[in-house]
């Protein structure tokens, strides 16, 4: 059986995911599929105000090798397992005691 917190967390997860998907879809339609990150947009504009300044990559990016989708998916899964494991240890133990 799921406890109250787990139920609430699952419902919140579904609601938040639904909200993000809806606004992503609206943004995708509104901007004809571009939806670029605001950081690189402002950075590129700032660099254009000066000659010979442009973003460069000094380190190999994982996302260049496997693509953004898989790179961030793997990072999210790893971080999610770390958070889930530690969260359980920190909070479940006290509830069970």
């Amino acid at each position: 059986m799921l406890d109250r917190f787990t139920k609430t967390a699952l419902v919140l997860l579904v609601v938040i995911t639904a909200i993000i998907l809806i606004i992503a879809y609206l943004g995708y339609i509104g901007d004809q599929g571009k939806m670029k990150g605001i950081g690189p947009i402002v950075e590129k504009h700032a660099a254009s105000t000066v000659a010979n300044v442009a973003p460069v990559s000094l380190v190999p990016a994982i996302t260049d090798l496997v693509g953004k989708f898989w790179g961030f998916t793997i990072a999210g899964i790893v971080a999610g397992f770390i958070v889930g494991y530690l969260w359980t240890g920190l909070f479940r133990r006290r509830e069970d005691a």
């Binding site: 919140l12 993000i20 606004i23 992503a24 609206l26 943004g27 995708y28 509104g30 901007d31 571009k34 939806m35 670029k36 990150g37 605001i38 950081g39 690189p40 947009i41 402002v42 950075e43 504009h45 700032a46 660099a47 105000t49 000066v50 300044v53 442009a54 973003p55 460069v56 990559s57 000094l58 380190v59 190999p60 990016a61 994982i62 996302t63 260049d64 953004k68 790179g71 961030f72 990072a75 999210g76 971080a79 999610g80 770390i82 958070v83 530690l86 969260w87 240890g89 920190l90 909070f91 006290r94 509830e95």
Partner: protein
Amino acid sequence: MHISDGILAPEWCLVWFAIAIPFIAVGVWQIKRGTKENASYLPMLAMMGAVVFVISVWHIPVPVSGSCSHPIGTPMSAIIVGPFPTVVLGAIALFFQAFFGHGGLTTLGANVVSMGIVGTFSGYLLYVLLRKVNLPLWLAAGMAGFVGAVLCYLTTALQLALSLNPGSVLSHWAIYTVGYMPTQLPLAVAEFVFTVGIVQYIADRRPDLLAKKLWGGVSSA
């Protein structure tokens, strides 16, 4: 707020590193002390590190601006594990994010200052101030998240203007800020919401885990 390599002038990269390093040193010292005093401190730090990494790299689309960006997570972390240790967590997260095409190594100091120091301390100090005037926990935590996120991007805009446009810093600071805000303000509202949710949850279930000292990160029962 992830400034890439090649954007900032080398002297400005050094300046931001010089500002960031003392904060990181104090944070490392507090983490060492905290792990000795409280067994729950290290797992909480590790969890916050993973949370800050994910929150500050995952782009959320903002339809009103037609672009996407991310919250920062450091104000929430500062309330939970303390501000100086959060600077260390922010630095580690930003280092790894450079390998995901976000930020850079030469600009790590600048990014630590904006997200790790300004975002952290502005949010945390506002939280402490609002709690001292007896505002409810949820409002103080939420405002910390909101203000921390906004000030982080104001700092990034200032860093760009100082390095790239030294002759017209104020006007370019304003221009870059105007560029960020349509996307960042809705995300600052999101930062308000999840900061409230997580801090309130921990306060209800494990209040002993919240950082209690103004300049420390040690959660004492």
